[in-house]
Every structure is written in C-alpha cells, then in structure tokens.
C-alpha cells in the first residue's frame, strides 16, 4: 500500500518535473546550450502564480493562461538580447552567461520579494481524494498532472504537425542542414528558448501551491532538470518526459523508504550512474565517446 | 613473404541503419604510397576514423604491423606508429606554429629542448620555419595544411594517413606538398592518401583502392584505375579524363 501511494505521488510530481525537463531538453536540442538559469525561470513562474493569486485572486491553474504567453515572451527576448550572442562561443562561456542571468534573476527577486518564503494556499491545497483502498491522492498534484498531460500533448502535436514545430525538430537534428534548407535557425533558437522558458515557468506555477516559494527555490530544480535530460537523452523531448516520471518516482520512493533528507542525494547519484553506464540516456541522439 | 604493414579485413561500419562501410578489405605494403579514392560520401573518412580508433568497427579487423588494433584508443594507435591528418584541419589555434609541432614531437620525447629541436627540423622540412612564432589560428588554409603535416611527421610515424591534404590548395601548393610527401616516403614512412584531386593521386600513388557507397569498387595501379569503366561511371562521367 505504501508502495503504491509512493508510486502515485511520484508519478504525479514526476509529471511536473517532466515539464521542466522537456523545456530544458528542447533548448538543448535546438540550441545545444545548457541553460543554467532554468531553475530561476521556474522560480519566476512560482512568483507569477503567487502574485496572480494574492493580488488578482486568480487561481494558479487558471493564471497559466497569462503565465504561459508572458514567460514565452520573456524567454524569447532573453534569447534575442543575450543568448544569441554566444551561440557560437565555447560552451563553457554559454554556461557562464546563463549562470550570470540566473544570478541576476534570483538576486533581483531577493531584493524585490525578500527571502521570506511565501506560501500559496488555495481552498483545495490540502484536499485529497481518498480511495477505498486507503490511498490518498492530493488534489493539487492531480490537477498539476492533468494540466501537464494537456500541455505536453499540445506541445507534441505542435512539434509533430505544425510547420514551426517541424522546423524546430529539423534544427534540433542538424542545425547546418536546417539552415541550408532555408530555415531561420536564429528565430528557431529564440522560439525554442521561449518555449523552454514557458515550460519552466509553467512547472513553477504548477508546483507553487505545494512548495515554499522563495527566490532560491529554483536551484534544486536545476540539477534535477539536468538529471532528467541526461537520463532521457539530451535533446530528446520524449526522453525528458519519461525521465521526469522516473525521477519523480525515484524521489518519492527514496523519501518513503530511506528519508527525505537523502532524496536529492539519491537523484544526483542516479545522475552520475547514468553518465557512467549509459551517457546517451534512454533515447539519446548525442552520446559520450 | 613480408606481411603488409596495414591489413583491412572485411571491415564493416554501421551507424544504426546507415551502412557507411561494407565488407572492405585491402592491404598496404611498407613504404607504399597508397591511394583511397571515391566520390563524396563513399565512406573514405569513416574508414579512416575506424582505422585510427575514432570509431569502433562494427565488424572486421584492422591489423597494423602484425597487431590487431580494432579497439584501441586513437592515442594508442598513434603511439604504435600510425598518425593521421584531418579533412577539416585542426590547428591548435591559440598556440604558435612551433608549439603545435612540438606537441607532435612530445609523443617520442619528454624533454622540452629535444621537442623544440625536432619541431624546428620538421618545420624546415615542410618550409614553415619563418612562421614558427605565429599563432596557428592566423595561418592561411594552405599553411595550416602544411602545419598539420609537420605536426604528424614530428610523431615519427611508420604510417601516415592523409585525409584530403590537398583539399583547398592551388596547383603550386599541391605540387610542393606532394614533393614533401615523396621525400617522407623515401625516409621510410608508408603513406595512405584520401584524395579527390585525381591528378595528384595518379601522379603519386603506387596502388589505389576505389570506394563507392561504402563498398570497394576497384583496386589496382593508377593506370588500371583510370581505365576502369565502373570507376569512371561512379565519378559521374565528369571524372578523370586521361
């Protein structure tokens, strides 16, 4: 029973992780950049949801309608103004740039919102469905999961069917070839980064009702998102989705059977294990040597 | 009967569903100048990468100096005496020309002074002495190719694999390079050439293998190859005119 409970919580949380992971994977695939500001983008989503709720009284899940386009635009502009300038630079410089941007975001948030953790409590924050078998399914988690499925499906269809989506996939597979075929790869980069940011912010907003919201909250999600991407295979959107669910479950099981103190350590050890044993991940296109 | 220095035996290389090299076999004798030619995408560079340890072969054997070298790392292959150049030159850009060649020389010595001496000798042989202190990244493409040659020669290889070393060069540059290569062979090194420039290939090679779409199409002397109908057809009629 405990096992199934743990499994279910893990899958539900894993869905949100998957969203963050997919965002990062998309950026990695199209731009070949590790975005170290990803966690801070999630944090911004958390605060957007928080203030939409406390100032405008909009339910966090409904505020997604506003958060998604706003964060997409933010990411798009971020890419155009900053990231695009280092697209051909050595990757360590790209990483440092995104770290710098992340530091600016988190510390501006610290100055603006102070380090007091905020809590977003909706009327149903602690509600749960209690099944006959004794399982308790948290309503916020369930709603997040369902929304994640909806967004992932839309994204999947977009990538598969729309012309922009196909252009994105082409750029991801081979940037040079895509350029030769007439695809505006610079625009693709900006779009990919915009989508990645929107997904990160969405994940943040979805998680906001169940986490402490504070300016440094994004950092623990950063390495987790990388773990998900590497596990799924850098650049593979499907892989990141699967990876997210796996990490969610691993974390949940670790919390239940070992302790919550060690759950992050276990995830990071898993990360190193993947690098050691199967660096190309589950669905990877790029690999180690 | 002397064993060939390099023996490629039924080598296959697949990338997932893509068959890049299919059942290729040939042998290179000591001190030969051996040509590996074929249209673009024929699998020549892939074969080079398999031979020198950058790709693992899917199946087949690579035997160098009587030793199976299939799964060795590239640096181990180099230390056994097989060195290669790159189709797209790889100068160590932030280092000087002399330092580039010194790094090659370090594979046979630990001493700084000895490496510097050997490097200077190598630069003189290819005619780059005047550029010794210049940054490698600042050279023209022709000089970069010469630098790459000097660098691998500094490793004192038994066999040299040259991947399109004449690519992007004009006639004078090509002729100079070919003369250097003839001298290198006289000094005892075996040479394997990937090349597109048919004039260069036929003028310098003792023996040629032609690849097309990963398969060995033909093998023989330059005269035999240039008369071979299949080879001419593979080069799409715009190939070599005798």
């Amino acid at each position: 029973m405990l096992f199934i409970q743990s499994l279910i919580s893990g899958i539900l949380t894993g869905g949100v992780y998957a969203l963050a992971g997919i965002g990062m994977s998309l950026v990695f695939g199209v731009m070949n950049i590790s975005n170290f500001a990803h966690g801070d983008l999630m944090m911004l989503g958390m605060y957007l949801a928080y203030y939409a709720f406390t100032l405008l009284h909009i339910d966090p899940y409904l505020s997604l309608v506003m958060i998604i386009p706003v964060s997409f635009l933010f990411g798009f502009l971020l890419e155009k103004v900053f990231i695009s300038r280092v697209i051909d630079h050595p990757h360590q410089n790209q990483i440092l740039l995104t770290i710098g941007l992340g530091l600016i975001m988190s510390n501006t948030a610290l100055l603006a919102f102070t380090s007091d953790p905020k809590i977003l409590t909706t009327s149903y924050s602690s509600s749960a469905i209690n099944t006959a078998g004794g399982l308790s399914i948290s309503i916020p988690l369930l709603l997040s999961f369902l929304i994640t499925i909806l967004i992932t499906t839309i994204l999947y269809l977009f990538l598969l069917k729309s012309s922009t989506g196909m252009a994105l996939r082409a750029t991801s597979q081979n940037r040079e070839a895509a350029q030769l075929m007439g695809i505006n790869v610079a625009k693709m980069s900006a779009i990919a980064f915009g989508i990645g940011t929107a997904l990160a912010a969405t994940a943040g907003a979805l998680i906001a009702p169940t986490y402490y919201i504070h300016p440094l909250a994004g950092h623990s999600f950063l390495l987790k998102s990388f773990t998900i991407c590497v596990l799924g295979g850098l650049g593979s959107v499907v892989g990141a989705g699967v990876g997210g669910l796996i990490i969610g479950v691993v974390e949940s099981m670790a919390s239940t059977y070992i302790s919550t103190d060690w759950k992050d350590v276990i995830v990071f050890v898993l990360f190193l294990a993947v690098l050691l044993l199967r660096p190309q991940g589950l669905f990877g296109k790029n690999g180690g040597q | 009967m002397i064993e060939p220095l390099l023996k490629i035996s039924h080598v296959n290389k697949h990338f997932g569903g893509n068959i890049a090299v299919s059942d290729v076999s040939f042998a290179v004798e000591e001190q030969q100048i051996f040509g590996l030619i074929g249209p673009n995408g024929a699998g020549k560079t892939t074969l080079f990468n398999c031979i020198t340890g950058f790709y693992p072969v899917t199946s087949g054997d690579v035997i160098f100096d009587n030793r199976k070298i299939n799964n060795l790392r590239p640096d181990a292959v180099c230390r056994l005496g097989m060195a290669r150049t790159w189709q797209r030159v790889k100068p160590l850009s932030s280092l000087s020309v002399l330092e580039n060649v010194m790094i090659g020389a370090f594979s046979i010595t630990r001493s700084l002074t000895e490496a510097r001496e050997k490097a200077q000798e190598q630069l003189t042989q290819v005619g780059l002495s005047d550029y010794a202190t210049q940054l490698a990244g600042s050279l023209s493409i022709g000089l970069k190719k010469k630098l790459e040659l000097a660098r691998v020669l500094a490793t004192k290889p038994k066999m040299l694999l040259l991947d399109e070393i004449c690519g992007g060069l004009n006639h004078t540059e090509t002729d100079t390079l070919l003369q250097i290569i003839r001298d290198v062979r006289k000094q005892g090194t075996t040479i394997v050439f990937i090349e597109h420039d048919m004039k260069a290939v036929t003028s310098i090679c003792d023996h040629i293998v032609v690849l097309n779409s990963g398969v060995k199409l033909a093998e023989g002397t330059p005269a035999e190859i240039t008369r071979n109908q299949e080879v001419i057809a593979a080069y799409l009629g715009g190939g070599y005119h005798a």
């Binding site: 590790s34 900053f82 300038r85 280092v86 990757h91 360590q92 410089n93 990483i95 440092l96 740039l97 770290i99 710098g100 941007l101 992340g102 530091l103 600016i104 510390n107 610290l110 100055l111 390495l223 990388f226 590497v230 103190d261 060690w262 992050d264 350590v265 990071f268 050890v269 990360f271 190193l272 690098l275 050691l276 660096p279 180690g288 040597q289 | 020198t52 950058f54 790392r73 590239p74 640096d75 181990a76 180099c78 230390r79 790159w86 790889k90 100068p91 160590l92 850009s93 932030s94 280092l95 330092e99 790094i103 090659g104 370090f106 594979s107 700084l112 490496a115 940054l135 691998v152 490793t155």
Partner: protein
Amino acid sequence: MKQLIIVALLAALAAAIPSLLGENPYIIGLLISVLMMAALSSAWNIIGGFAGQYSFGHAAYFGAGAYTTMILISSWNVNPLAGMVAGIAIAAVIALITGSIVFGLRGHYFALASIAVAEIIRLSVLNFEFTGGAQGILLANVTLWGLDLNSKDPFYYGMLLLLVVTLAVTIWLRKSKTGYYLQAIREDQDAASSLGINLARYKNRSLLLSAALTSVAGSLYSVYIRFIDTSAVLDLRLSIEIILTAIIGGVGTLWGPVLGAILLVPLAEMLRSNVIGDSLVKLGIVSETSALGVFLSENLAHAHVLVYGIITVLCILYMPKGILGLFRRIK
C-alpha cells in the same frame, strides 16, 4: 624563469606588508581573503584555463580540505598540518572519482557532473552527525608548534605561500610536456588524441593537482576562521565565484586569477559593508532619507551577488578573455 623571479619579488613585497601595516586586523583580514581567492582561482585555472575543462563544483575540494581538517582536529586533536595532508588525500579521491566518470565523455558532461559531485558532498555533510550537520563545526582551540594561531599573521603568510606555490606550479606547467598536452586538449581534443595524448590521463592529472591545491586553501581557511558549515565551504556560490574571478582577470593566463581576486574581493567587501552606499550619501549624490537612500542602505549590502551576476554577463558578452585577454593573447 623570468616569471618565477617576478613572483618571488612580489611575494617578498607582500610578505613585508603585515609588518608595515602594524595592528590592522581589518586590512590583513581583507588581504587574506584576496590571497585566498587568488590561490583558489589560480588552482582552478590549472584544470579550467589550461586544460579547458571547466569544473563548476570546485567547492567540493575546498570543503574536503576544510571539513577533513576540522574533524581531525576537533575530534582527535590531530596536528593541523597532518589534517591538511589528510584533506588533500580526500580531495584526491573525489577528483579521481569525478574524473573516472566523466573524462571519457565529450561536451557538457564534466560541468554537470562536477556540480552533481559537489552537491552530493554538500547534502551528505548536511545529513551526517559527525560532520556537524547544519550546525557546522566550531573549533575551540588549535595549536601548531607554538605559533600564535589567534593572530591573523600566520594565515596571511600561509595563504601567500599557497598562492606562490600555485603560481610556481602554473609556471612549471607552461614549460612542461604535461602543460603542453593540457593546452592541446583544451584547443582540440580529437587532434590531441590523434597526436598520442591520453585524454583521460592528462585531464585526471590536472584535476588532481588543482583539487589538492584547492583543498589546502580549505584547510587553511578552517583553522583561520575556526568555524565552518556547508554554506561557507561547500556552496555552489563559492564554486561560481572562483570561476568568475579567473574569467574576469583572464582565464588561462598566469596573472589573470590574481588580478580578478584583487578586483572582486574588495568590491564584494565594499558592497557587503555598505561602503558604497555610505559614500553615495556622504558625497551628497543620494539623500539619506530618500526612498532610494533607504533602499540602498538596506539592500546594497545584500546585492553583491547581484553585482556578480551583472559582471558575469557583461564579462562574457564583451570581455570573454578577461582583462588580461584584452592586452595579450591567451597562453
């Protein structure tokens, strides 16, 4: 050789400073911080600037030195120097483990793995009893051969010596086969491999060297401050600060990290102690009671990380080779 002489001269000058300064613990303390950051960045430069492998988790080695030394002294009364050697051993093990996992792989993996290793260590230290958990470790008393360890001077000289050793190692590397091989790896790994360079072996060597020097700094720091916890010695921010210091000065150069430390450490200190805010008020530029004045006095002290972020972005965009890189080619 010439550079070694310059290092020796500057070191001699630096060694004279405490006596010239007399009783000024604040300045000495600041200089110790500068020397330490210079040493840390120079040590990082060996793997980051030379070999081109950016470790984003170097705090792991600093923390290894600090925690090993502290635990051995406080629990078993071990001589601090022995504690330092033990710290080096632990750091070496961490370096070997990290290297063996990633140095066979290409691309971004080393950066990510180095962070993962550092975080695993930080979280583990937080969770264990014998490492003090979240409380950290406090050292009541420590002695070494009759030296007065309550004064700052021994630590000034200790950090200075470490910096000199690190610079000397860097100078030696540039003129050795190992150093040349590392630079080849940095420039083009495939080319390096094809020239007979065993990539993993040389990357491991440079990481070991870098880790050992970094851990010595950690050991010195722990005995100097007499209190450590994970946020002081194992934090990601420290790792980033080390890299930033090297980048601003000029990554891959001999003096770049030192220059970076000389610029950034006092800047951070001025922000932290609100010197800048106070001077703006004194100069009359900002009125003390205005909204901006109040905001500055309350917040500028916390803003030094924000300033770091801005400097990082500006540096990468406009000055990626650092200040020294503007003046001469990377060597």
